[in-house]
Symmetry: C2
Subunit: 220 residues, 2 copies
Amino acid sequence: MKRFLIEGEHLIEEALKANVVETIITDTTCPFAFEEVVLVSEAVMKKVSQNVSKVHLIAVCKEVEVDLTKKERLLILDGVQDPGNLGTMVRTAMAFQFDAVYLSNQCADLYNDKTIRSTQGALFHMPVIRVKDELDCLVASLQEEGVNVVATTLDDAKPLKEVETCSKMAFILGNEGQGVSKSLQAMANQRLRIEMQGFESLNVAVAAGIVMYTFQERVK
Amino acid sequence: MKRFLIEGEHLIEEALKANVVETIITDTTCPFAFEEVVLVSEAVMKKVSQNVSKVHLIAVCKEVEVDLTKKERLLILDGVQDPGNLGTMVRTAMAFQFDAVYLSNQCADLYNDKTIRSTQGALFHMPVIRVKDELDCLVASLQEEGVNVVATTLDDAKPLKEVETCSKMAFILGNEGQGVSKSLQAMANQRLRIEMQGFESLNVAVAAGIVMYTFQERVK
């Protein structure tokens, strides 16, 4: 099982809730009732930490195996490069009750320090799956399961407000520069564009936020 | 008049459109038909640049005086700390035809390299005003001009979908940790919350994107 590090009290609190913490490392007293605590010197802490400012709590966490049964609202990320954007989208997916986030192999690392911080702890509760093959295979298999796959793009697409809500939907958001690849756009059941005027340019995490807000899962 | 630096072809192209470039500095040939070009060595370029990767074009730009006549859609930022969030919100405001963005004195620097890059050039076209006094005075004066001021918050607020569109609206978004200050929440004509379930946490630029998309100005 793979391991990764997280820093700071808030993230560790979320990780403890999700039961993924193996060890807590600290140079002070640990505020959590947790058995596996290792006390180290300030110098060791500084060496291990990725942060410029002082950190007093680091935790070793285990990657969790994802078992996905519900696929009503999915986010598919095609080559998102920026760790901040990636983490923010995982956080937003959690807020709007999405069931999972799929990452293409070209996406930034989910366990990058910046990505983890941007999720604000959502990655401990949200299934995030890195797809080993091309996304085409994933899209085809989701379509076989009856998922309506929607690609976001500026060309030849339906305005967001006119896209109907289906019971099972997956939204593809693309790379910061290139957007969603042409082959995925062609495969999708629908193409959607966010209505804008003048400056046709949105940050990918903002675009994803607008789409996920619009199609969020409502409590029945 | 104050000056600031921008880097890279795309940003300089946008700045030239807005007529704010004074001088272009390059260690190669300048791709733009522009008179004031200074040729420097690679070493000088490296010294001036804020970027880790090599940059071949830097421009000296002048800050533009803002003269605001139209106030139908406004964004007010109360202590937004992260330059990336700030720049992204300016970019989004441009995409959704907002008339201006007001920044409290506690906000990040608009002319920070990271902020400028995150605007993707929108800051050359979008009026952005740094408010010297407290935001309370701005809000009071906007209200006198008939602007409906809406604070975004999680407490005691109307769901976004139930907020009516008015002809003149201003939306206050707050600091990443604290949100909108209590005094501004109390002053606002309305309080709005983005409907979420479970994880009550959104990145401020994502929240602003959802709000601005919903109340964007439509071409009449």
